[in-house]
């Protein structure tokens, strides 16, 4: 394996990369290149994030004072419903797997592409179609049921016409997610090059794999759920509607059987990113590799067993309440295992406090709070008081936004040089991260207090005693929004004016750092050789190229990872 050879970097075709390989809009819209598909997803997902984020800001603005501030109650209901539905289905679920995962997975694995490139492109167009239907729903008067579409309101009670449209959108988006998960699982099983054994894969790939299991196994159930919802609403035959003999609690069983694993679809890839960020940016081998890898799969399997904890006060039977509550406690354990391993990785590491690392550290703090408050909600006795209050809102924003989204943004910064070939402004990156972190905590920690004082969620109006908390929360949301706008600004600026990125700006050891930034069209000229992707001792900093490369005093074969 170690031969005394010239330690030249892998020769790259001069100047040609996946961005310049072919030109023209059709070469993008009809591309089969996973990198381009990932970029298209990224643009689409981030655009949806901003749209739904604006809805969220409007919600917070309305709530700054009791009574009507800027919109009436019906409009408010539509705003929070669409904020939730777009964020869940169009943004967070696809965000890491479809955008960053698509780009990074084959390269990290050592493959030329995903297993089914045409299916990959089809997944993207399914996403677009789902987004079109969601926009159609907005145009048809919107939906005011909350993103959970509980019956019987969603089948009979609402005056809003968009329910069937949104149901169709969710169905289509579900298949986009399923096909992405299928693609990734088959890629990891069948397209690993020689030497890339299961336990040599970077942990991000383990996370994507576990996510794929969830995407394939859980998503069909939301498909049948929204199909039944659409049938019930269109034909009124009596599936979930009690006035026609149906069972509304059954709808909740159907809905949450998917939607609970869905939240793990959101968080698992994010945790995979954190494994990468923490180890690379502290230049230290990840602690407890196998524990983290197995915990990802354990979380995936456990997540199917706890869906009833969303239904504790929905007249689910006491027997099932107890069962679900008990299992919910156990599902926290694999997540905690990961957190401790990450902390142990940081300990005595050589920590670079650059933007990706700052997002990773934010994650640790925010996920700690988010995860632990899940236990408050999983406990039957406290959930009776906290269900449907702002405590729940705060909890899920801490895990979905403060953890999943923050990790995604951190990963975006981490792989930005690789994807675009440009470095962004580190100064503004740190400022924006600080604003987001402070703004987020001000917005949502206040909501824990609000919830435990009894403020219900999804309410347009509230008692005057809650006003000060809402004011604080809204101000926090503006600070956070400022942070995101600054992020968008410097990232877009870097595309035109940023410094050219070296192949390995951070000192990563996984295979994506062995090719140029941006990568060539075919990812690898020759089949790469694989070593321990968390052993950073072989890399050293090169002042001239402002990046890392293989140490001069160590011999290695061309293409050795």
């Amino acid at each position: 394996m170690t031969t005394i050879e010239a330690t030249k970097p892998i020769p790259e075709p001069a100047g040609d990369n996946y961005l310049t390989h072919t030109t023209g809009i059709m070469s993008w819209l009809g591309t089969l290149d996973h990198k381009r598909i990932g970029i298209m997803y990224l643009v689409s997902v981030l655009t949806s994030f901003f749209v739904a984020g604006i809805f969220g800001l409007l919600v917070r603005t309305e709530l700054i004072a009791p009574g009507q501030t800027i919109v009436d109650a019906d409009t408010y209901n539509r705003l929070f419903t669409l904020h939730g539905a777009i964020m869940v289905f169009l943004v967070i679920i696809p965000s890491v797997p479809a955008s960053l995962g698509n780009f990074v997975l084959p390269i990290m694995l050592g493959a030329k592409d995903v297993a089914f490139p045409r299916l990959n492109l089809f997944s993207y167009y399914l996403w677009v179609t789902g987004a079109v239907f969601a926009v159609g729903a907005i145009l048809m008067g919107g939906v005011d049921t909350g993103w959970t579409f509980y019956v019987p309101y969603s089948t009979t009670g609402t005056a809003m016409g968009g329910v069937v449209m949104v149901a169709t959108a969710v169905f289509i988006l579900g298949f986009s997610s399923i096909f992405t998960g299928m693609n990734f699982i088959v890629t990891i099983h069948r397209l690993r090059p020689p030497g890339m054994t299961w336990f040599r894969m970077p942990l991000f790939l383990w996370a994507i794999y576990a996510t794929g299991i969830l995407q394939v196994m859980a998503t069909p159930v939301i498909g049948i759920t929204v199909a039944l919802l659409a049938v019930e609403r269109s034909f009124g035959i009596g599936i979930f509607d009690p006035s026609l003999g149906g069972d509304p609690v059954l709808f909740q069983h159907f809905f949450w059987f998917y939607s609970h694993p869905a939240v793990y679809i959101m968080i698992l890839p994010a945790m995979g990113i954190i494994s990468e960020l923490i180890s690379v940016h502290s230049h230290k081998h990840i602690f407890g590799y196998k524990f983290i890898a197995f915990s990802s799969v354990a979380i995936a399997i456990f997540s199917f067993l706890v869906w009833g904890h969303h239904m504790f006060v929905s007249s689910q039977s006491p027997l099932m309440n107890v069962i679900f509550s008990a299992i919910t406690f156990s599902v926290a354990i694999p997540s905690a295992v990961k957190v401790f391993n990450w902390l142990a990785t940081l300990y005595k590491g050589s920590i670079s406090l650059n933007t990706p690392m700052l997002y990773a550290l934010s994650f640790l703090f925010l996920f700690g709070i988010g995860g632990l408050t899940g236990l408050h909600l999983g406990t039957l006795a406290t959930d009776i008081h906290l269900h449907d209050t702002y405590f729940v809102v705060a909890h899920f924003h801490y895990v979905m936004m403060g953890s999943a989204l923050i990790a995604m943004i951190g990963g975006l910064h981490h792989w930005w040089p690789k994807m675009t070939g440009r470095m962004y402004s580190e100064f503004w990156g740190r400022i924006a991260c600080g604003l987001v972190f402070v703004g987020f905590n001000v917005t949502f920690f206040t909501q824990f207090v609000l919830g435990s004082k009894g403020m219900p969620r999804r309410y347009w109006d509230y008692l005057p005693e809650f006003t000060v908390y809402h004011v604080v929360s809204t101000i926090g949301s503006y600070v956070m929004a400022l942070g995101f706008f600054i992020t968008a600004a410097y990232l877009i600026h870097s595309l035109f004016g940023g410094r050219r990125a070296p192949a390995n700006p951070w000192g990563g050891r996984s295979l994506e750092w062995q090719c140029t930034s941006p990568p060539p069209h075919d990812n690898f000229a020759t089949q790469p050789h694989v070593g321990d992707c968390y052993d950073f001792s072989v890399l050293e900093w090169d002042e001239q190229e402002q990046g890392y490369h293989w140490r001069h005093d160590l011999a290695h074969e061309p293409g050795e990872g």
Binding site: T187, I224, I237, G238, L244
Partner: protein, 304 residues
């Protein structure tokens, strides 16, 4: 005959794969994962079936009289034979036998068509009789070519006559015994079947279905649901589940048929060989799942 390109790759081998074996294995795994999603999609409906049957078993016993067991069995046989021809088609593709491949695919397609034709007749018959899902189930005849005259009245129904005689004997006996110590409990009108004749109330009190245990219901003697004293509460739910499950299954049969057509076109063009038969194999797997689901639907609705 497969042509190779500059890399020595056969033309059917996509560039991101290294060997045909890898491509085949990847396709197979991908297809099995897709089949898993189909199982889970139908699984949701099976959950609905289990929940309703578990909590309202009388509903399903009552409902199965409306389904023609013979047609259901014929459909089962049709799908089993079409699965046979499909699996045989895969074997033929693997052995480079293009002629038999095309014939077997055509036979499979014929099976799909036969299934759909039989289903069409089943559905149209039900709609003709007024057996719809939802509230439309409770529409009286007169909205189509059937009228009340086509149905026997409950008073002539043998079991109802027998029970009415038993009831009147009991009533006569209780009058002979003297004033009643406690008022008889008559089922409140809200929960009784439509219509308030003594015979029907008697049957309802007697316990409905058990009174007709073991009796063969033939269409000529079948009561309209609105007159049938044995009709359980919310009887339309049976048809909800029946139409949804067989309907979704029917949609999959149509899709399967289209897949087979696509395979036939490919076979006619000579795309498949012993080196590359993957689409036939994977299309076959899809068709077998359609058969598999019907294997469960048939007894669950028609037989028990």
């Amino acid at each position: 005959m497969t042509t190779v390109d500059a890399h020595g790759h056969p033309d059917f081998l996509q560039h991101h794969f290294d060997t045909p074996q890898q491509q085949f294995d990847a396709g197979k795994l991908g297809m099995w994962m897709f089949l898993a999603t189909e199982v889970l999609l139908f699984g949701g409906l099976f959950v609905g079936y289990a929940v309703w049957r578990g909590n309202h078993p009388d509903l399903f016993k009552y409902g199965s009289q409306f389904l023609d067991t013979t047609l259901g069995a014929v459909n089962t046989v049709v799908l089993i034979l079409s699965s046979l021809t499909m699996a045989a088609a895969v074997t033929m593709a693997q052995r480079n036998r293009r002629g038999p491949l095309i014939i077997l695919l055509a036979l499979t397609l014929a099976g799909a068509g036969t299934f759909l034709v039989i289903k069409y007749f089943e559905y149209t018959h039900k709609f003709h009789e007024g057996w719809y899902p939802g509230l439309k189930f409770y529409e009286p005849p007169g909205t189509d070519s059937r009228t009340w005259a086509d149905y026997p009245t409950p008073a002539l129904h043998p079991a109802a006559v027998q029970l009415a005689e038993e009831q009147s004997r009991d009533v006569a006996a209780s009058f002979a015994a003297g004033p009643v110590a406690e008022p008889t409990t008559v089922a409140p009108a809200a929960s009784g079947p439509a219509g308030l004749s003594v015979e029907r109330l008697a049957v309802a009190e007697h316990g409905g279905v058990e009174a007709y245990e073991g009796e063969q219901e033939h269409e000529e003697h079948m009561l309209h649901p609105l007159q049938d004293p044995t009709r359980p509460d919310n009887a339309h739910m049976f048809f909800n589940i029946y139409f949804m499950m067989t309907g979704l299954h029917g949609v999959h049969v149509v899709v399967g048929g289209l897949v087979i057509v696509w395979l036939m076109i490919g076979a006619l063009k000579g795309r498949f060989s012993s080196q590359y038969f993957t689409p036939v194999d994977l299309g076959g797997l899809y068709w077998h799942i359609v058969d598999l689901i019907w294997i469960f639907l048939f007894p669950l609705f028609y037989l028990i």
